[in-house]
Amino acid sequence: MSEIILETRGLTKHYGGVHALTEADFTLRRGEHVAIMGDNGAGKSTFVRQITGVEKPTRGQIIFDGVEHTFESPIEAREAGIETVFQTLALADDLDVPSNLFLGREKVRFRLGPFSILDKRAMREATMAALVKTGVKIPNLSNTIRNMSGGQRQCVAIARTAAFKSKLVIMDEPTAALGVQETAQVENIIRTLKEAGEPLILISHNMRQVFDLVDRIVVFRRGRIVANLRKEETDGQDVVAYITGAKTGAEYEGAP
């Protein structure tokens, strides 16, 4: 078993003329927690969409768990073991919390292909358990997502990754809308993942959070990776310099 859980080589995504991601070489070791930082529009979410099968990269390779993958859809990435909290959350507004938590992989009581009969009770109970872990306050699980606050939605999306076994967790700005307590809870979830040896990619603009939680920081700028910093060898000011373009990592010279 290789020590590297995820590797991308030359990962590139163009949207028409927009070069959203250019030649990204990224590695993540087992058990390692890495933060991706960068300004708005730097290409962080684009990077996530390429490795989770939401979009097809223009070119480049994705090697996950020792196997090269071309994920045709998010299901394939999920089945391979990548759980993601997308920045857009990917929740269905008109469904209640358990339905969202299990969307796409419902628990069934009776298998009948597409007409498989749902096990609503089991999903409800599992939802309770998963939500307690996030520390979210939701008065009524049967409420639709539409009627929930931004933070509650975010917690539902996070609980969704927490409820399933995975080999890699990706969180794209998971605490952007959360209150102090809820943020602390999510950070605790992340620490639990660390203790369990589960690798994580965390996208965040929160410097304190990043320095609290991760081992390594990768900086994106205008679609390129411009720095790869071990936490011990850097500090907030340094990271900001890379984000804004005042500095560029030695191995990334030549990037604009």
């Binding site: 989770t52 939401v54 859809s73 998010p74 299901i75 999920r78 993601t84 997308f86 857009t88 959350l89 990917a90 929740l91 269905a92 507004d93 008109d94 469904l95 339905s99 969307l103 796409g104 992989r105 419902e106 069934v108 009948l112 597409p114 007409f115 498989s116 009969i117 749902l118 609503k120 309770m128 939500l131 307690v132 520390g135 979210v136 306050k137 939701i138 008065p139 009524n140 699980l141 049967s142 539409r146």
Partner: protein, 356 residues
Amino acid sequence: MAQTTHGIGGLAYDPTKRTRPPELNVLAALILIILAFEVLGRMFIGDSFLFNTRENIDTLFNEQRLQIIILQVSIVGIIALGVTQVIITGGIDLSSGSVVGATAMIAMSFAQTAIVNGNPNPKAIFGEGMMDLPVIVPVLVGLGCGLFAGLVNGLLIAYTRIPPFIATLGMMVAARGCAKWWSKGNPISFPTESYAAIGKGMMPVLIFITLAVVFHLIMTQTRYGKHSYAIGSNEQAARMSGINVARHKVLVYAIAGMLAALAAIVLSSKNLTAQAGMGVMYELDAIAMAVIGGVSLQGGRGSIIGTVLGALIFGVIISGFTFLKLDAYYQEMVKGVIIVAAVVLDTWRQNQRGRG
């Protein structure tokens, strides 16, 4: 006494004050409309809409009128069950009326009886070998037609990303053309007895109610239903959650096509004849039933129960106008008004939600 419990994280809520299901509003509307006709009837024509007023019959309600109402809505109601599913996924199906026409013609051709009043069948489409076939043949052929039309709709919409409105509009024109071409515009009559039994008496109602129960269970209790709502409320999220959206859409349109075909079988059996013009405008009636029943054209919201209630409202209004001895032309206009009003109501509900 109001009992409060605690949700997750200790927020209190009162489970007795759950939000009212929207179907209750539709039911209330149905009752109000019936009452309105009752009052109007007594005021202007001195007759009761709901109750029996004839001396020679010993029943409380005007059962004849009630039977006609549900019989009238049953056949279009079968189509509306499929249309409901399509709209819940955020789509629309304009082809159902034409699919009814084409399917009725084709299925009827396979349901011909050999001898009519002691003479050979004068209208037979095919040769002798194709007469007096067991009833399963025209039924399967008919369902096959609907399946085919639905699959074409679904595949176009799911894989070429043509908007549902355009794809099913194309099918609407093409299927009507097929219905006319099939027998060069001639009606097809004289079905076998077994075929004629499908739509006899109250059979259409029985079929409608059975299917309504089945699809209610499917939409509320199965993965298919869950995914339909998910796709309608946020297609991108459904895709990111791992639902195979394209495949699901094909399935939904295929089911809608088969339900339209079933309506065609029931209708042609009931009328003992099939004509190329059968089912004209049924698609709009079906959509109206769904929308009146609270199915949102934006997708993601609505239910089979709502559509059944919507169908009843639709039937009551049409029958009410006949009862008030208003012209058939008024009925058409009123239908138009109902459809627009239902959509306006839906848009208004959306805005309410957006503000809240």
